[in-house]
Point group: D2
Chain length 355, copies 4
Amino acid sequence: MMHNHEASSPSVLLVGARGYAGQELARLLLAHPSARLEFCLKSDDAAFRLDDYVSAPGADAVETLAPGQLDAHAGRFQVAFLATPAEVSVELAPRLLAQGCKVIDLSGAFRLAPEQASSVYGVRSALLSEAEYGLVPFAKGKPARLIANPGCYATSILLALIPLLRAGLIEPETLVIDAKSGATGAGRKAAERLLFSEVDGECTPYKVAGHPHHPEIVRFAGQFAETVIDPTFTPHLLPIRRGLLSNLYARTRPGVTGARIAEAYAEAYSHYPLVRFGAFAEGGLSWRRIEKSPDCEIRYSLERGKLSVFSLIDNLMKGAASQALENFNRLLGIPPETGLPSSLGEIKISKEGIS
Amino acid sequence: MMHNHEASSPSVLLVGARGYAGQELARLLLAHPSARLEFCLKSDDAAFRLDDYVSAPGADAVETLAPGQLDAHAGRFQVAFLATPAEVSVELAPRLLAQGCKVIDLSGAFRLAPEQASSVYGVRSALLSEAEYGLVPFAKGKPARLIANPGCYATSILLALIPLLRAGLIEPETLVIDAKSGATGAGRKAAERLLFSEVDGECTPYKVAGHPHHPEIVRFAGQFAETVIDPTFTPHLLPIRRGLLSNLYARTRPGVTGARIAEAYAEAYSHYPLVRFGAFAEGGLSWRRIEKSPDCEIRYSLERGKLSVFSLIDNLMKGAASQALENFNRLLGIPPETGLPSSLGEIKISKEGIS
Amino acid sequence: MMHNHEASSPSVLLVGARGYAGQELARLLLAHPSARLEFCLKSDDAAFRLDDYVSAPGADAVETLAPGQLDAHAGRFQVAFLATPAEVSVELAPRLLAQGCKVIDLSGAFRLAPEQASSVYGVRSALLSEAEYGLVPFAKGKPARLIANPGCYATSILLALIPLLRAGLIEPETLVIDAKSGATGAGRKAAERLLFSEVDGECTPYKVAGHPHHPEIVRFAGQFAETVIDPTFTPHLLPIRRGLLSNLYARTRPGVTGARIAEAYAEAYSHYPLVRFGAFAEGGLSWRRIEKSPDCEIRYSLERGKLSVFSLIDNLMKGAASQALENFNRLLGIPPETGLPSSLGEIKISKEGIS
Amino acid sequence: MMHNHEASSPSVLLVGARGYAGQELARLLLAHPSARLEFCLKSDDAAFRLDDYVSAPGADAVETLAPGQLDAHAGRFQVAFLATPAEVSVELAPRLLAQGCKVIDLSGAFRLAPEQASSVYGVRSALLSEAEYGLVPFAKGKPARLIANPGCYATSILLALIPLLRAGLIEPETLVIDAKSGATGAGRKAAERLLFSEVDGECTPYKVAGHPHHPEIVRFAGQFAETVIDPTFTPHLLPIRRGLLSNLYARTRPGVTGARIAEAYAEAYSHYPLVRFGAFAEGGLSWRRIEKSPDCEIRYSLERGKLSVFSLIDNLMKGAASQALENFNRLLGIPPETGLPSSLGEIKISKEGIS
C-alpha cells in the first residue's frame, strides 16, 4: 500500500486546503507516517476534491465535509489544522475543541493578547488565554489543546533573535528588521495588488510600521527572552513565488565576538535540528535551496560592533505548513522533524510511538 | 504651457482609465497635439482622480464624471474612448452616439456579426451593423461614427496575414497560429488565475479552440482579403508584463519566394509607417524594444515551402491604446502616427490641420 | 544509514556535475537504490566538491577525480554519466568504454548520423554506429554499452509524435511544432544572451529552421515510426527556470476521432508509466506541477480535423537527468521508474534484482 | 530634420555603448538638444554599429572609432563619456584630457581617495586629486574637467542622507542601510551568477560589509555633510531588470518631527527639480513608475524616534546615464534637467544658451 500510516495514527481534519499553505500542509500530512488525513472541510457547498489542488499519493482518498456537516463529524478527529483567515478560525476552533479535537491554527487569531487581537485581526476569542504559541524550539511542557502556529515573518525573525537576546549579546533598542517575502506569503486572494502585472518588477515596502507580525514579534521576544523590544520592521513583497528573508541589524554589547554569536545559536538549537546557522559567506544563502525545506538558515556578519543576521525560510513550509507539522509532532510526543523532508531532500521517518 | 493642444482640438471623454489599456490611452491622449482629454467617466460614486493612475503632464487637470452625470455632459464631447468590458460598452455607446459623440470602443462588443457577438461576448447591440472595424491600414473611406478597435491577438495576426492572403501566397487551409501574450493582456481583473503566484513559472495554452479573437480573425481575413480561413489558434499567457507574439505557420503556394513575401508586405504597408517587416534574423525580435511602441514588427522565414511569420506588438499599445489613437487620427483626417511615439522613441507631431 | 544502496549496486562516475542537468543527475543518483555514485570527474585542477553544488544526503561522500586521473580509475566504474558538451563526450566515451565502463551520454554527440553529427555538433565519433538512442519506451532488446540520452525538445516531441505516426493518425507533411523552454535548457554557460537582464521580459524564437534537435526528431520519427517527416520546428526561450512545452499541430487523416488518439497513446504506453495523456482541459497543464517529475504530460485537442497536442516535461528531468536514470535502469534490467520520484511526489523503489 | 541640436552643440564621444548604462546614455545623448553624439569608441577591431544596440533616431549616423584611432581623433571632442570598467577609464581619461576633451566617467575609478581606489577598484590614477564627484545638487562652483559620476547605490543613499545629516536630524552612528538593486545594476557581464537561471527566484545579500560603494558613501557624507558615518550597508540583487531601492534606518535626535524632515529635504532641493520627497504612503512607491525617469523618489516614515527613509531610483538613469547628463549640463552651464525626460514623461528642453 502507498500509505504507511500506522493503524493507530490520529485522524486529521484539514480546513483551507485550497490556499498555498493549505496545499503544502495536505501534501505533508499525506506523507506523514503518523497522521491519517481523512477529511477536508470546504468553505461552501460547491464541489471540492482535494486531488484537484494537491498532487500527492492518497489525495484522491481524502473525503470532503460541507460546512453544515462539521459538528456531526468533529468527534471523529483527533487533530484539526486550520489554514483559514482569523475570522474563520475563531469561529471553528471552539466547535472543534468542544468535541475533543485538538486544533493547530495557522491564522493570527490566537497569537496576540486580547486587545491586540481585536485591533490587529478584528477578532477576539475567549480561547486566547489558553492558546499556546507554537514556536517549537522554545515551546515547553505539555502542549496545549489549541496551538497558534507562528506567522511567517515572526518565525524567521524570532528564531534568529531569541538566542541573541537570551544570551544578552545585542542592544535591543538598536534592532532594525528589513524583511522580504515571496508573493505566496500574501495568500491566494484574488486581490488586484497581487496580480502578476502588479507584482512583477516591483519591490516596495508595505504595511510600514503597521504589519500584524510586529506585535507578535514584540510579544514573544518578551515571553521567550524576557526582553522588551520595539524594532523598526519593514516588510517587502517580491516578484518571487516562495521564500522569506529577514535581515536583523543591531549593535552588539561590548566585547561580543562572532564566536559568542555562534555559541548562542549552538546552545539554543542543540536539541533542535531544523535551524542551521553560521557566519555569512558570499553566495551562501539561496532561496531555491531552502525551497520545500522545513529548515531555517541563519547567517551572521559582525563588523566593528555592528551585527547583521540573515534568516531565510520557505514561507510556506517553516513559515506555515511544516511548522504546523512540527506542532503536530509535539502533540504526539515525537521528534519535531518526523515526517518532514530534510534540508537534504530526504524524508526522515521516526520509529517512535504515538502518544 | 505644458499642453500644446490646438484650441480647436476635439474634446475627449475616456471611460475605463483604471485598466492597463485605459492608463496607456490616457497617457497618449494627454500628449496628443489634437486631443483635449477633459473628462474621465468613473464606474461608481467612489472618489477617482486620473493622476492617481496616470503619471503624465495634465493628468491632474482631467475632471471626473460620475455615472449619473454622463447624459447631462455627453453633448460636450466630440469623441469618447471606451476601454470597458463589452457589456458596459453596449450600454454606453448608444447614449454617447445619441448626443453626437463619436465612439472608439476597445472591447469586443462591436467586432463580430450579431449571432457571434451574442455567443462570444454575451451582448448584442443594434449598432453592430454600423460599427466599423478599425484595423487602420485596411480601413477605407469615411470613418464610421462607431469604431470597434481590434483585439490584441487579432491585430498582430491580421497585420501579418492579410498581405499574404491578398497576394495569394499561402494555402489558407494550412494556417496554424501559436500566440503568446504578456499578462496585462488579461486585464486588471482581481482573478485568482492572474495572481503573480499563479502566473510565474507557467506558460500554458488557454481557451484552446475557443478564444474570442478566433472568430474576429476569421471574419476580417474574409472581409479584408476575401479568403475563408479556419486556423488552429492557440494562445498562451506568459510570465511577462507586456508584449504579444503571434507565430503564423503555413504552406506557401508553389513558386513563392522570400522576395515575394517581402513584396507583399511592402505593397500592403507602402502608405502606412507603423508596420516594420523583414526576414527573420537571430536575435532580431525583442519584446523589450517594442515596449511602448505603436509598431508591429513582422519577421518571416521560408524553408522548403514552409513559411513561419512572427508578428510582435506591445499588447497595450498596438493591441489597444495606440491603435485607438490611430483610429482617432482617422476621425480627424490626419496621419495615423500623429501624436504617437515612434518606434525610435520620438514623438512625431503632425503639422496638418484637423477635420 | 542514510544510503540504502544494495552492496552489489554498480559503481557510478558522473562527469559534469556543476551543470544544471548534472546537479539533478547527482541528486537522483544519490537517492537511487541500485547505484553507488562514487566519483565525479572535474574539468580542471581547481578544487571541486560535489556538496558545494548538490544538497543531498551522501553528496559529501562522493570523491573527485582530476582529469589526469581518469584512465587510472576508469576500470572501477560500471557506468559513467556524461553531462558534458558534445566535444568532451566524444573524447571521454571511448576511454571509458575501453575499460569496460558503460556510458550514458547526455550530449548530442551520439544521437545523429555521422555527417549530421559533424555539421550540427562539430564532432564525429567512430562510436556513432554502435550508440543506441535511449528513448526508453521505444528502445528494444539488450541495451548497447553506449547510450545517447535524447535531447530535451526531442524527448517531449517524440513521445507525443511516435504513437500518432505509428497508428497512422496524422498527415505527416502537415506537422508544425512550436516549442517553449525554460532558461535552464540553455545550460549553465556564462553567455550574455542568457543573463537575467536579457531573458527577463522576452520570449522570442531562436535557431529558427536550424535547431540541433530538428534532425534528431526527423531521424527517430523515421526509426521508431517508419515515417518521413520534415516539420517546421520553432523553439523559444522563456523567462522561466525549468520546464518545456512542445505544441504539435497537424491535420488528422480522415475519420480520426479523439477516441482514436487516446487509443494510440494508451497502446504505446501500456507498459510504460512515465507518460500521462488525455484530452486537453482548461487549466489542466501546469509547469509547476511537472517540476522535478520524471513524467511527460500529453494533452490533445481535436477540432474539425485539426489536431493540437501539448507535450510538457521538466527539461532537467525527463529532458535530461531522470531519462538518463531510466536508461541506467534499462542497463540494470529493472523497471524504468525505479528510484525516480513519481509524478505524485513519491519515490518508487523497485524490489527487483539487479542484472 | 530629426535632430534639433544647435549647431554650436559640443561634439561628444561615448565609450562603452554596448553596456546597459551606455545604451541608456546613447539614447539620452541622441535626444539632447545641446549635444552632438558623433562617435562611439569600440573596444576591439570587431564590427560595431551603435544602431545595433540603441533604437533611437540618429543612432545610425554615429560613427565608430577603433581603439587605435582614439588619439588621432580625441582633439575633435569637447566631452567624452566613459561607461567603462575602472581599469579602462584610468587608461582613457588622461589621453582624452591631454587633448582638451572634458571627461565624465561612470566607473568608480575617480570617486575615492587614492589608497581606497587601489584597494577597492585595483586602480590608482594621478588624476584622482583633480576629479570632481558629480552629485549634482551638492556640486558647487566651476565644474572640473574630469567628473566622477556617482555610483548607483551611493546616489540613492546620499540624496536621502545628506539633507538629514546637514540638518542634524539623525544620530549618525545608528545608521543602517538595506538596499535592493535590479539585475542590470551588475552590468552586462557574461558571469554565471548573473544568468537568468541563477537570479530568478533569489534575493540574497552580497558583498556584505565589502561593497565598493560603502567607502564612497562614507567619503561624500563626510565631504557634503561634514559628518563621520560608518553605516551597515547590505546590498541585494533582485530578479527585476531595473530600479534600485535603498532603505535607510536611523534614530532621530530628540524632538525631531516629520515636519522637520520634510523641511530638510525642501531646503536641500529647493533649486533642484529631480528629487521628489514626502511622507510614505501605502502603495506610494513604484519601481515601474520611476522606470526611465531621471528622478529620485524619497519617502520617510517616523515612529517614536525611529526614522525609515526609502529612496528609489532607476539605476540606469539617476544611478548612471541621466545623472551623467546632469553633469554634462553642468559643464554647459544649463539647468540639470535639460534634455531629460521628466518624471511625468515629458522632455523638458532648455531654451538657454550653451557655455
